[in-house]
């Protein structure tokens, strides 16, 4: 094989640069592939694909479908991909994530699923106001809206229903959790929780996404938090993940797991070099 490790990306963020630096620092031979330039042939042999990509591939595409399908392709050629296609499929889709959390007995916000505008309005009525409407695919808080009353709920549901988007007629409606104005982001690599941060919503937004201007601060790691995060990580197949939680009146709820975790913010609050940990994890897998 030409290289033991490959990284597939479609946009080089701060995180990817840190991973490249960590690989160079550890003197590990690696190849970089821009997913946007790939031409994958269905009839390529397992050997020819492994010759190009090596036996261990870190999948870091920002586009969910692009990354997941590339993982499927490489796995079909017996390559080992982190995160694997199953984990990508579950984490990249809130609908599937919620089902997995429930089945695994992980506390998660109550969610109703509907497939038409009328049933979506019935779902919101049944949950009460406010409730939260989320797109099942996508991140950074985009399209996540709080439904404060019936008028706004009807308007927003109607807008989504009349949209031509492939997934816009699938309604994922979640209870609005009574929580402090923050959530908790944790980063997991393998079976290790590397850190936790509070993400406080900015003054003009109820959402707590870092990309929307959330302020971050260190969240002390507790045994309870660590145990829940590991259990949640295992429920989706494990790997390199960002597990997000909310502090509800009834305890911690896992509401989302990120398959392509950004860790620039949380790096300030951990003694571990997360990029180095990721590289060690991939390197271990490549030697199996």
């Amino acid at each position: 094989m030409n290289n033991r490790i490959s990284i597939i990306y479609d946009r080089v963020r701060w995180e990817e640069k840190e991973i490249f630096k960590a690989l160079e620092h550890k003197n590990i031979q690696f190849s970089k592939f821009d997913a946007k330039t790939l031409v994958l042939r269905s009839d390529d042999s397992v050997q020819s694909i492994q010759d190009v990509y090596g036996n261990s591939i870190l999948q870091r595409c920002i586009s969910h479908y692009r990354g997941m399908l590339i993982a499927h392709y490489l796995e079909s050629k017996n390559c080992s991909v982190v995160n694997n296609s199953s984990t990508s499929r579950t984490c990249g889709n809130k609908f599937l994530s919620t089902l997995v959390f429930e089945k695994a007995g992980i506390a998660t916000p109550l969610t109703l699923f509907s497939f038409s505008d009328k049933s979506a309005i019935n779902s919101v009525d049944s949950l009460g106001y406010p409730s939260v409407l989320k797109p099942i695919v996508g991140s950074w808080g985009r399209g996540v809206v709080k439904l404060n009353d019936m008028d706004s709920a009807k308007a927003l549901i109607e807008m989504r229903y009349n949209d031509d988007g492939l997934l816009s007629k699938i309604f994922y409606i979640q209870e609005h959790v009574n929580r402090p104005p923050r959530d908790i982001r944790t980063v997991v690599v393998g079976n290790e929780v590397l850190g936790a941060e509070y993400r406080y919503s900015s003054n003009d937004d109820w959402r707590t996404n870092f990309s929307l201007g959330a302020k971050i601060e260190n969240c002390p790691m507790t045994k309870e938090l660590e145990d829940i995060v590991i259990k949640a990580s295992e429920s989706v197949g494990g790997g390199i993940l960002g597990v997000d939680l909310m502090e509800s009146d009834d305890g911690l709820l896992v509401h989302e797991i990120n398959n392509n975790v950004e860790f620039k913010g949380i790096s300030k609050f951990t003694n571990d070099n997360i990029a180095h940990k990721i590289v060690d994890y991939i390197d271990t897998i490549s030697k199996r």
Binding site: D10, R11, K32, S63, G92, V137, W140, R142, N259
Partner: protein, 57 residues
């Protein structure tokens, strides 16, 4: 390194540790450019892909 924004002509400052695939944002107009090639001190920029519905962490 410096380049001019292809849209508004503002100056784009490019750090020395720039890598292919990195995104350079214009401080004036906000447009994003992807580093498509690096040859010694010369960086080639292409318009970056626009944000997709399925983009995220």
């Amino acid at each position: 390194m410096e380049q001019k924004c292809q849209d508004c002509d503002a100056t784009l400052k490019i750090l020395d540790d720039v890598v292919v695939g990195e995104i350079i944002s214009c401080p004036d107009c906000g447009n994003e450019f992807e580093v498509s090639k690096i040859n010694s001190n010369n960086v080639t920029l292409s318009p970056a892909e626009s944000v997709g519905e399925d983009w995220g962490e």
